[in-house]
């Protein structure tokens, strides 16, 4: 019961968020909002497919790869979004040369992919191998980018507003990732269908983070 209610709340929140982001995409003809719409829309379709199977067949999908495809897509759009935002303020991760004295800042982001790889190995004990590898790959590059931004982006340049926006976006993506990983990990240990199950707390955190994308990203037209 709690799982269904939580799933329905997430779907309702996502429908509202997708509507707002689509409206902004059409009004401002914005690539940024197109990416946000696709990210939220993909997440929504994954949830809807999952809930449809429960509603129509009384069980989770027989072939879960369809909803997984949608969630892969959501993460890919999120990855494109952070890279595009980063490039919009003049940063290109691949072009940055290693400088002495900042080594730790270049190596710490690698903890992201490492973390996702270790977690994927752990999840493989409970789920499919291929989907965990794909999730680990996508989450790895997202975490790498997010940590890189938080450690390396300069805060004292002329374009302060844009850079602050990228930092806020990175923090938000990090919160979404924590929500996702928390929910996945909790589902390995807790199977109860009550509110005391941490899976629901983390999933709710992810749900809340979706609404924050509408606040963190600016409405204005792309240059």
């Amino acid at each position: 019961m709690v799982e269904n209610i939580e799933g329905l709340i997430q779907i309702a929140v996502l429908i509202c968020c997708v509507t707002v982001s689509l409206y902004r995409m059409f009004v401002y003809k914005s690539r940024r909002w197109a990416l946000v719409s696709f990210f939220l829309g993909s997440y929504l379709t994954g949830d809807l497919y999952w809930q449809s199977c429960i509603f129509y067949f009384g069980q989770t999908p027989q072939i879960s790869v369809v909803s997984d495809l949608s969630w892969y897509a959501a993460l890919m759009f999120l990855f494109i979004l952070i890279r595009e935002e980063l490039e919009s303020v003049g940063y290109k991760i691949v072009e940055v040369k290693f400088r002495s004295g900042v080594g730790i800042k270049w190596f710490l982001p690698l903890l992201g992919p490492l973390f996702s790889a270790v977690m994927a190995l752990y999840y493989m004990r409970f789920g499919a191998i291929l989907s965990n590898i794909i999730y680990a790959a996508i989450m790895g590059v997202i975490l790498y980018n997010v940590i890189w931004v938080l450690l390396n982006i300069k805060r004292d340049t002329d374009n302060k507003g844009s850079e602050r926006r990228v930092i806020y976006l990175s923090i938000l993506i990090l919160i979404s990732c924590i929500g996702e990983y928390g929910a996945w990990t909790a589902s390995c240990f807790f199977t109860g269908n009550t509110i005391t199950n941490p899976y629901f707390w983390f999933n709710f955190l992810a749900t809340l983070s979706f609404t924050a994308y509408l606040i963190v990203l600016p409405k204005e037209v792309d240059s």
């Binding site: 197109a34 994954g46 809807l48 497919y49 999908p61 369809v66 949608s70 990855f79 494109i80 595009e84």
Partner: protein, 212 residues
């Protein structure tokens, strides 16, 4: 038993003759329609093959294998067109939607030959619902490509992501229309409503998202 390939030959023959005689955008439009119908025929074979290969029953295959195969095959002619001819975005978008229309048309004709033409209400629901869903999936893919086609890495990641999105949307539609009654009506109405809202909104506000 439905002989889809016979139906295909019958429908494709006038199109092929017209393609031979026409030029320019008319010819291109008909080629895309024909491609859509061809991909529908191909996807029926390939979906059945994968269903047998994976030991999936017919119902599960409709909800999981068919949407993936159909969306990927529908995209292949577009990918070829984009890579070889490097068209303008507007021409590519028209192509994607024409393929979707061709696909939906052939699928509806096969439905007619299988289930008859006596019940006009269910045929209307079927015709508009499936047609709208395929066109909406085409619009979603073209919208994604429109925004993500400029850089190579974004194009590759974005194309895959957009296809995944379309596959899941298609799968949800298939689940909803697999049940008769209110579920079929709602499932068919959603894509139709989205297209109508989009059309009305863009007309009222004079917005054209596809302009470069």
């Amino acid at each position: 038993m439905t002989y889809m390939e016979n139906t295909y030959v019958c429908l494709a023959a006038p199109l092929i003759l017209a393609i031979l005689g026409l030029k320019g955008s008319y010819k291109r439009g008909l080629i895309f329609l024909l491609c859509g119908m061809t991909t529908c025929l191909m996807s029926a074979y390939i979906s059945s093959y994968f269903a047998v290969l994976s030991g999936t029953d017919a119902v599960s295959a409709t909800h999981s294998i068919s949407p993936a195969v159909e969306e990927i095959l529908k995209f292949l002619p577009t990918a070829f067109y984009l890579q070889i001819f490097e068209p303008k975005k507007k021409a590519a978008i028209s192509g994607i939607i024409s393929i979707a229309v061709g696909f939906a048309t052939f699928e509806n004709v096969c439905y007619l030959t299988s289930y008859g033409t006596s019940d006009i209400v269910s045929l209307l629901i079927r015709g508009f619902g499936t047609g709208a869903m395929h066109v909406l999936c085409g619009m979603m893919v073209s919208l994604g490509l429109f925004f993500l086609w400029d850089k190579t890495w974004v194009r590759m990641v974005g194309t895959f992501a957009v296809l995944c999105f379309a596959v899941t949307f298609h799968a949800i539609f298939n689940i909803m229309v697999s049940e008769d009654g209110i579920s079929l009506s709602i499932g068919s109405a959603i894509p139709l409503a989205v297209i109508l809202i989009y059309t009305v909104y863009t007309r009222i506000h004079n917005v054209n998202i596809w302009t470069e």
